[in-house]
């Protein structure tokens, strides 16, 4: 077990290095000089040259990459061109907002997707199944930004039920402990802030989570459908366990594995979806940070943010692989 994990982790390291190289080259090859964008409209050639020297852009790309690489392995992702703050701390400041939004989306996806899937899977081909399947396909096929705009229009614009954008109302929050707004509110027992946070998060979370909800519904449905034909279910039925218990205690429990797998697999989609949903709802997460970094050609910030996203994605994949190996020992000897 241990050797397998070690092997997988060490196998990931060259991939991460290659990724960092790829990201670095991609950012460097982008047309458009950051100095031209970040300095004022009326900056002279000399100002531009000074800025380029300060940012290290006057050196060959390989030197720049080597500097970046040696600093990065010591936990320093450089300093943002535009904001003049350390990139790592900027990302860490923003990441909780993105994680909170993603977690809440997953929650919504699970709360709605799984019961719907169970419901549909338990009664194949009934109206419940048809309705559930339609709902699932609806979720899978809905572009999240369009859904988000429609939600703002309806829930904020027409009905005036929820705040249209942002993460919180200024002045309500207690001091941050973890950076997770909802969690902090609970820790401080600041119920007003919790309420405020929930009111802000619910629309973006729905917009972001609908897609995963649809997929979860589909997967749950087919897993339940599959499990319902297994021998032990038949045995349980034969023993006179009532149908509700058969479904929830035996069938759903065993359908959880593929469901958890799908949540893991879909996290990447959720991450990139959050970039767009954050833009729609002015959500102050790392996705917005990435978009403003791209717009400003803030090389260290782009590289740092993309790399962070990628690392998260790689780690998730690694964890899933390891979990698989824990669950199913055969995998360890594959390959």
């Amino acid at each position: 077990m241990f050797t397998y994990i070690t092997r997988r982790v060490t196998g990931t390291i060259p991939v991460i290095i290659l990724i960092s190289l790829l990201v670095f080259m991609l950012v460097q090859s982008a047309p458009g000089d950051p100095a031209d964008l970040l300095l004022s409209d009326e900056a002279t050639e000399q100002d531009v040259a000074e800025a380029r020297a300060r940012w290290g852009l006057d050196q060959p790309v390989w030197v720049q990459y080597w500097k970046f690489f040696t600093a990065a392995i010591q936990g320093d992702l450089g300093t943002s061109f535009r904001y003049a703050d350390p990139v790592l701390s900027m990302i860490l400041d923003r990441l909780p907002a993105t994680i909170e939004l993603s977690a809440f989306s997953i929650l919504i996806a699970v709360v709605f997707g799984v019961p719907l899937g169970v419901w549909a899977g338990a009664r194949p081909n009934s109206w419940a199944d048809n309705f559930g399947s339609l709902f699932g396909f609806f979720g899978i096929s809905m572009p999240n930004f369009w859904f988000g705009i429609m939600l703002i229009l309806l829930l904020s614009g027409v009905l005036n039920l929820l705040p249209s954008s942002g993460r919180d109302t200024y002045g309500i929050a207690s001091d941050p402990i973890t950076g997770f707004y909802l969690l902090d509110s609970i820790l401080h027992r600041n119920w007003k802030a919790l309420w405020d946070g929930l009111a802000h998060i619910i629309m973006p979370a729905i917009a972001l989570g609908t897609n995963m909800m649809g997929i979860l519904m589909r997967v749950t449905r087919s897993s339940v459908l599959e499990v319902m034909h297994e021998d032990y279910i038949t045995t349980a039925r034969a023993k006179g366990v009532n149908e509700r218990n058969v479904l929830w205690r035996h069938a759903v429990r065993n359908a959880m594995i593929p469901i958890i797998t799908v949540v893991g697999l879909e996290l990447g989609t959720l991450l990139s979806g959050s970039i767009i949903v954050e833009t729609v709802f002015s959500w102050p997460g790392s996705g917005q940070l990435l978009i403003s970094a791209i717009t400003a050609r803030d090389y260290p910030l782009i590289t740092g943010t993309v790399l962070t996203y990628t690392m998260i994605f790689v780690v998730i994949n690694l964890v899933i692989d390891v979990l698989y190996a824990v669950i199913d020992p055969r995998i360890r000897f594959d390959k």
Partner: protein, 511 residues
């Protein structure tokens, strides 16, 4: 099979359901009594008051750290903020003397503003490694403190529009604080001499200011707390305004005006902007080297129709580089380019393109109000005149560096903050100033130089008018329109917006 049971799914589901039950729909929380939230659009670079060069940030730093004065577009005059009065040297037009208001106390520690702080601020403007504002002090060679409250600015050559460079733009910061903290000063001690104090900055999200009650001229009715919140999406900004999440919203696009106007709790004000929009035609590229082709563009575009359809009447057609309310505007000048597609065709033919000519047209997106939409409408008009248009809408950060290098032949562009047009005209049309349009005309250069050194208003305006006429005849850029700035505000506040888009806390009264 045992491993599969490690998840107690029933309990997990129950827990998530309980949490979801707690999520009931609720409106935005009520806003504290004397707090005004202003929705703005632009991103900002953080705590350093010299690192941004947008009118939004000049406005915020000007009322926190402080600036010498501001141009009040409502009265059409320069108004002192930290400076009480100023004068130009009688024998030497290169010397400007500014007299500071006495007894201006710094936020927090109460230290008085002195001339030394102004001298330091000029130094920092010119030397801060992150300064994006050096262009504002370029005409100034040095500043000297004459006594505690008097400071002399020396220009390298006579500069009549100097106030338009310094006012609203030169941010005044404390010398002693900088000596103590160095480059960390903005974060460690964000204390200034303005009427509002910086309390919190969250990059890309909001800036929170609190009233400095000791400031001369600040009143009890002005908001105690002023929040600038960035909401980039137009719909979200307007919805936030209508729902009472924000009290003042800038840059309401014309097509949402009716929605705001229909709301009983909102006042909508319409101010012509000082940003002029134009089509730049770089004569270093074919076919723009031919004056007749450039003039054909002038006749080809039906600006009235675009203003009516795209801007819903929320823009003024320009008949020259500037319009009413801007310095040097003369309403008696007859419009030169009235929509005449036949004349445009004829000019193109006369220029040697009887079968039309292929051109590339660039408009950066998400930059100006209705940029993409209005340019889309221009395309078929140019085509009707015989141009074969390839229309591109690049992202601004791809487009702008190319413009700055002078490599874009034909593009839609805006120049903001044109109160006094001197700097803007020089920037785009004077030989060697910037390569953006690549236009060069020694006659124009001579006039522009003379204009800057002319302190007699009437003579200076006459020179500017001469310059405008040359530009209109040669047409290196065809000036299109000025877009109205619609400002929406809750009826709980009283505020008269300015065309420079400056929103100062001391101008707002909470009812």
């Amino acid at each position: 099979m045992k491993t599969r049971h490690f998840f107690a799914s029933g309990r997990l589901l129950a827990a998530t359901a309980a949490l979801a039950g707690a999520v009931t729909l609720g409106g935005a929380a009520a806003v504290a009594r004397s707090q005004v939230t202003v929705a703005v659009v632009n991103d900002f670079a953080g705590w350093n008051p010299y690192a941004d060069s947008t009118s939004q940030m000049y406005m915020i730093w000007c009322q926190t750290y402080g600036c010498l004065g501001t141009f009040d577009t409502r009265s059409g005059e320069y108004k002192g903020l930290l400076a009480e009065r100023w004068e130009i040297g009688k024998d030497n037009p290169n010397e400007w003397t500014f007299y500071l208001k006495k007894g201006i106390k710094r936020q927090g520690d109460g230290k008085e503003l002195t001339a030394e702080d102004v001298v330091h601020s000029l130094w920092r403007n010119k030397n801060d490694p992150r300064s994006a504002q050096k262009q504002n002090t370029r005409p100034v060679k040095e500043a000297v403190a004459l006594d505690k409250y008097t400071v002399k600015f020396v220009t390298s050559q006579p500069t009549a529009p100097l106030l338009s460079f310094l006012f609203d733009r030169l941010i005044i910061t404390g010398k002693d604080l900088y000596e103590k903290h160095g480059q960390d000063v903005d974060r460690k001690a964000p204390l200034g001499y303005g009427p509002y104090q910086v309390k919190d900055i969250v990059v890309g999200q909001r800036m929170v200011l609190e009233k400095h009650a000791d400031w001369p001229g600040i009143e009890a009715g002005n908001p105690d707390r002023l929040i600038f919140r960035r909401i980039k999406e137009d719909e979200a900004r307007v919805t936030g305004l209508l729902n009472g999440e924000v009290q003042i919203a800038l840059h309401i696009p014309p097509h949402l005006v009716d929605r705001v106007r229909g709301a009983s709790n909102i006042d909508l004000k319409n101010v012509p902007s000082v940003e002029v929009m134009f089509l730049a035609m770089n004569p270093n590229f074919k076919p723009w080297d031919n004056k007749l082709v450039r003039q054909a563009v002038g006749y080809a575009i039906d600006r009235e129709a675009i203003v009516k359809a795209i801007f819903r009447g929320g823009a003024d057609v320009l008949h020259g580089p500037i319009g009413s309310g801007q310095y040097g505007y003369d309403p008696s000048v007859a419009p030169k380019y009235n929509y005449d597609p036949e004349k445009a065709k004829a000019l193109l033919k006369q220029a040697g393109y009887p079968d039309g000519v292929e051109i590339d047209f660039y408009t950066a997106t998400n930059r100006y109000v209705n940029d993409r939409q209005s340019s889309q409408a221009i395309v078929p008009m140019l085509e009707a005149a015989g141009f074969k248009v390839k229309f591109h809408t690049p992202e601004y950060s791809t487009h702008w560096p190319i413009v700055r290098k002078g490599k874009r032949p034909f593009y839609y562009q805006g120049r903001g903050s044109v109160v006094d047009p001197s700097a803007a005209i020089a920037q785009y049309f004077e030989t060697g100033a910037t390569p953006r349009i690549g236009y060069s005309n020694p006659e124009l250069d001579k006039i522009l130089k003379a204009e800057r050194q002319e302190f007699d208003e009437a003579k200076r305006k006459a020179l500017l008018l001469k310059a405008f006429n040359i530009i209109q005849e040669d047409l290196p850029a065809f000036f299109l329109w000025r877009i109205h700035n619609y400002v929406g505000m809750s009826k709980t506040v009283a505020f008269e917006p300015m065309s420079t888009e400056r929103i100062f806390g001391f101008d707002i009264v909470v009812k």
